[in-house]
Symmetry: C2
Subunit: 140 residues, 2 copies
Amino acid sequence: MLNVRIVSVGKLKERYLLEGLAEYCKRLRPFCKLELIELKDEGMEKEATNMQRFIDANTFVLDVQGKEMKSEEFAQFLSKQSKSITFIIGSAQGVHESVKSKCRLLSLSKMTFTHDMCRLFLLEQIYRSFMIIKNSPYHK
Amino acid sequence: MLNVRIVSVGKLKERYLLEGLAEYCKRLRPFCKLELIELKDEGMEKEATNMQRFIDANTFVLDVQGKEMKSEEFAQFLSKQSKSITFIIGSAQGVHESVKSKCRLLSLSKMTFTHDMCRLFLLEQIYRSFMIIKNSPYHK
């Protein structure tokens, strides 16, 4: 089972986003092992230090400059991962260059959303990917 | 005050999305007159008929094939509107060609999200636009 790690900055507070996240965590349970990691919001440099241990060849930073994919492409891409994949979502200030330079960049949209909302969007896309892979009606 | 109309299909049921929408409706109150219109989910053709009365020169259909904008461009674009603007969000099946052909198409992302989630994303972007226009720290 694929290990999906989402590293984000700061504690998610908005109740509606927490509920949305919980919903997609539940839905994703049969398809991947999901780890949601919240780092302290303590400035880009210190955050970058704390992010280092999550960086490997399969680590992606969500960034508006990153590669955009259609949901089908993202699903294809996810289906090729065998062990683990990590997504890093920065704070409102973004992610430090020292982290970005070691990772691939992925963009959910040309538009900027709150970093908290991005967690929900990303989880929905991961769930959608599994539904595309198994050709479930969810994504149609 | 700009009149912003969001026409969507089907009743929004997920509690967390309703809460998110309510939050952004509240935040938008000082900046625009917001009308959220829910059409019956009764098939693309019938929906297209019901959408006709909302179509004018300032009607946009959210569609993955549409024009993507950065948040700053979207804000610029919104700031140029003087009276009213309408956004149409289709059902999971999309929007009928007879509607799309009369409107401009706008895309929030290359990725597909649930049409219910799109309502939240769009409201957030509209709110973000007003914050960009008045140079508030929200969007930074």
